[in-house]
């Protein structure tokens, strides 16, 4: 078989972090979609498992995904796999030699890592496993410090920490290609950020949202409930130019009471622009404005590549709009969790989302995405509660549990159709409709 043919049938193994399980598949799919590639898992694909085998990809595709993913830890070119070490050996001996030899040359250096999921292995056992791979035609020299090629033996001991089997459920062996971006979770941690608020989005989820939205370099991204700009920080990190609005003057100007434990008032360097400066992305900062999201200030033909936002839930920050008496004061967390959501609050909240979807239908480019959090009262949740819009297609709906009664769902929608023009005022957006049922009838 010619070398090029065999390389195009390569499988890649993605090792994912065992965290935010629901959010992983939409993230990887979105990142593959940025490469124009579909998500094609091998047979026996298990979404909740930390190891995924993918087909139909090039090494560049995999590197691109890993350059963005915060859900994936590492990616490998898969050389062999099996349920036992004996099966692994058979599988490895069947792997085309011409795919191995470029990485096994005499003048090269390498090391083999052993990784066990859900089990701790003694050092001696690791060495035994490495030694047991001596049937592989390694010709180079081992270098632990800076090898040219890194290989990994990965063992999956299941997902039950209370029931760890003696032998692994599954074993993989592959050549390391790239690591994911989980380091961003630490480097961009809200703990060390200059300007934060009560509702600043944690770094990991901010980057996941950016990926769900398929944000790419030179995109124009907008957050209508920008708060302290956590989502803008994440988007700017991946090359997008960012802007946002918020109804709260103090937050936008970085004034008022600090959200930090031992600090009373906000300092001079505490604003959204300063946050981008902290991470070296100030050049991606466009503008923030004080504005009411329910009364958009954009001309009809102004369009964004993505709209990414965390609207107020009425829990930690009150929901507000200008010209309305329906100001919600926030109940303390304990009350909200136990009591039924009051009717007036529900009405108020559904306005936010129908306005948001309507705004997105008008101000997204075709194919652009809206990504936002929807608060949920779990005992009464059903899929029909997710707002719909005839111009937007629902891509994913991922739950993050907050308490036994509450959660929030990360909703991703993609614009697939232009809204019909209103027959009168060209500079006004379409009037917002309220209520689920209207959307369903139109759709």
């Amino acid at each position: 078989m010619a070398a090029t043919n065999s390389r195009s049938c390569l499988q890649y193994l993605i090792h994912l972090a065992h965290d935010h399980l629901d959010f992983r598949l939409p993230e990887i799919k979105a990142l593959l979609s940025l490469r124009g590639k579909p998500f094609t898992p091998s047979e026996n694909f298990k979404e909740k498992c930390p190891f995924w085998c993918l087909e139909g990809l090039s090494e560049e595709d995999v590197c691109s995904v890993m350059a963005r993913s915060v859900c994936a830890k590492s990616a490998f070119e898969l050389w062999g796999h099996g349920q036992t070490h004996s099966e692994l050996r058979t599988s490895l001996l069947n792997y085309p030699m011409e795919n191995m030899t470029p990485f096994m040359r005499k003048d090269s250096t390498y090391r083999i890592n052993v990784y066990t999921f859900n089990k701790t292995l003694e050092f001696a056992d690791r060495i035994k496993r490495i030694d047991a791979l001596d049937y592989l035609p390694f010709e180079g020299t081992v270098s632990l410090k800076s090898p040219q090629h890194v290989f990994c033996l990965l063992e999956d001991y299941g997902t039950d920490p209370n029931n760890i089997p003696e032998h692994p459920d599954y074993i993989y062996f592959g050549r390391w290609i790239a690591d994911g971006q989980r380091e961003l979770i630490r480097s961009h941690s809200v703990k060390n950020r200059h300007f934060i608020g009560n509702t600043s989005m944690e770094a990991g989820l901010s980057f996941i949202m950016t990926n769900h939205a398929k944000v790419k370099e030179n995109d124009l991204v907008f957050d209508p409930f920008v708060g302290t700009g956590s989502l803008l920080v994440a988007c700017s990190q991946f090359g997008a130019y960012v802007c946002g609005t918020d109804i709260d003057y103090n937050t936008i100007h970085g004034k008022g009471r600090s959200s930090r434990k031992n600090q009373k008032w906000r300092g001079v360097d505490e604003n959204i622009r300063a946050n981008l400066r902290q991470y070296g992305t100030e050049k991606m900062y466009l503008d923030v404005m004080v504005s009411d999201a329910s009364k958009p200030v954009w001309r009809r033909t102004a369009v964004f590549d993505a709209i990414i936002t965390d609207p107020p839930y009425g829990i930690r920050e009150s929901t507000r709009r200008t010209g309305s008496n329906k100001d919600m004061t926030k109940p303390c967390d304990g009350d909200y969790a136990e009591s039924h959501v009051p009717v007036s609050q529900e009405y108020h909240l559904s306005d936010i989302f129908s306005d948001l979807l309507n705004f997105s239908a008008h101000h997204l480019v075709m194919g652009g995405r809206l990504v936002y959090w929807l608060p949920v009262y779990r005992p009464e949740y059903c899929e029909e509660m997710v707002p719909l819009h005839p111009c937007l297609r629902l891509i994913s709906n991922c739950e993050q549990t907050l308490s036994s009664h509450t959660s929030r769902r990360l909703i991703t929608m993609e614009k697939v159709k232009e809204p019909e023009l209103p027959n009168s005022r060209i500079l006004d957006p379409m009037p917002a409709c309220t209520g689920q049922k209207i959307w369903k009838q139109l759709g």
Partner: protein, 123 residues
Amino acid sequence: MKLLTHNMLTSHVKGVIKGYPLLIKATEVKVNEVEFNPQFVSRMIPKLEWSALVQAAEELGQRQDLPSDLVPDYETNEEFLKKVHRVLLEVEVVEGCLQCPESGREFPISRGIPNMLLNEDEV
């Protein structure tokens, strides 16, 4: 406030039909150096209302030799893109206001941040 943003803003005062573009009355303007990214500028040009951009740059005394019409084949014209880059991203209104061309209503800009909130009776 940068002129890229200004180009996309419109007055939303109740009853106003022609609220675009907002007039700029600046008392403090700054010109910062921002890294030139030709791909981004090229991508933004089709989104712009060109005459509104020229008018805004003129209002701020920052037009320089920006042409009244879009240059054809601008994607490969680096000199032109640099001029556009400057007015879109480097010129900033720090203090001043935006004015609705029809109603005259003013929206203040302070510390570079426009305040677009309307009062209850204007909504």
